[in-house]
């Protein structure tokens, strides 16, 4: 299929959520934020890695909701989604590797005790 054959109307309004649906989505986002803050408050009582993973999970979910619904990625042409995710994943991957390189740069963890960069988090 050539690209020019894919002429589809720019918008298909019917797919968009209605205003009330938007409000519900926002309420969900608010609820997720509330859970995040609760996790922060009760951080001491929860397993450390659980808090971290949970917060990251909620972050990703919020990110996805805003992107998919408010930014219409879910309803738009897939290429937009692909382009954006390309940049996003590239950023995540590259900087994750970079941060790991900082972590791995020492044989032992001696630097951590001295509060030096790379030893933290």
């Amino acid at each position: 299929m050539t690209a020019t054959e894919t002429h589809v109307d720019v918008h298909d309004e019917h797919d968009h959520p209605s205003d009330s649906q938007y409000v519900i989505i926002a309420l969900i986002l608010a609820a997720l934020t509330a859970i995040e803050i609760l996790m922060f408050v009760f951080e001491e009582d929860l397993p450390r890695s659980g808090v971290k993973l949970g917060l990251i999970f909620l972050m990703v979910v919020k990110f996805w909701i805003v992107g998919a619904y408010f930014m219409h990625l879910k309803f738009d042409k897939p290429i937009l989604w692909q382009l954006f995710v390309a940049g996003l994943l590239l950023a995540v991957a590259v900087y994750f590797i970079m941060m790991s390189a900082f972590e791995f740069s020492f044989w032992n963890d001696g630097f951590e005790d001295q509060g030096l960069p790379g030893g933290g988090s």
């Binding site: 926002a26 930014m71 042409k77 954006f84 950023a91 941060m99 790379g118």
Partner: protein, 210 residues
């Protein structure tokens, strides 16, 4: 071998020549820009993470950023920014309905919420500086923190200007269905700034160290 001449049809609603992807040039360009901006914020966030624990340098008297963060306050301004995404999307929806008045009101609300957020950030910065003595050059932590949140703040401010510009710039020509793409683009930018804050809020303010 004559080549065929093709009359180019126009989409009256949007005033654009049809494109191969079916997406207007402007929208495609905006998305490209946003995906590029991911790399920008990624670099800023990683720089901050590298110096995340270095707040104790230069004898500030604090061992951890959580000694200075005011999480309830920041949560509130995060919430405000999150809700501004809702008002933004309601504005677009109104404009799509050709409901100019509602479109303007929601857009102004969005801008207002954005300003509240910026106000909160200004307050936080002053607090850090005056109460805790954390200046831009105090240590690596402050430099990274102010730079990251500052860049985000600049993005929000630009967004506010874009919103106000759209509201006031269309006084004569109207803000009806014909402007739906303009509003959509401003909205995309605005939501992006919001999701960047979703990340910053979690990674910088909430996730515990160690």
């Amino acid at each position: 071998m004559a080549s065929a001449t093709v009359a180019v049809e126009h989409d009256e609603d949007h005033g654009h020549a049809e494109t191969n992807t079916g997406i207007s040039n402007n929208k495609l360009a905006m998305w490209l820009f946003l995906s590029s901006d991911c790399l920008l914020f990624g670099a800023l966030i990683s720089s901050f993470l590298l110096y995340r624990t270095n707040i104790g340098d230069n004898n500030t008297g604090y061992d951890s950023p959580f000694d200075v963060f005011d999480i309830p306050f920041t949560s509130l301004s995060s919430f405000v920014l999150l809700m501004s995404s809702l008002t933004m999307v309601l504005s677009l929806s109104a404009v799509n309905r050709d409901d100019e008045r509602a479109g303007r009101i929601w857009m102004m609300t969005t801008a207002f919420l954005g300003m509240v957020f910026i106000g909160g950030q200004v307050f936080e910065f002053t607090e850090f500086y005056q109460v805790y003595g954390l200046g831009y050059s105090t240590n690596t932590w402050t430099s990274a923190f102010y730079t990251l949140t500052g860049f985000h703040g600049v993005h929000v401010s630009v967004g506010i200007l874009m919103l106000l510009g759209t509201v006031f710039g269309t006084r004569k020509s109207g803000l009806g269905k014909g402007k739906s793409e303009t509003v959509e683009l401003v909205g995309l930018y605005w939501h992006f700034v919001d999701i960047v804050w979703v990340i910053i809020f979690t990674v910088i303010y909430l996730i515990p160290i160690g």
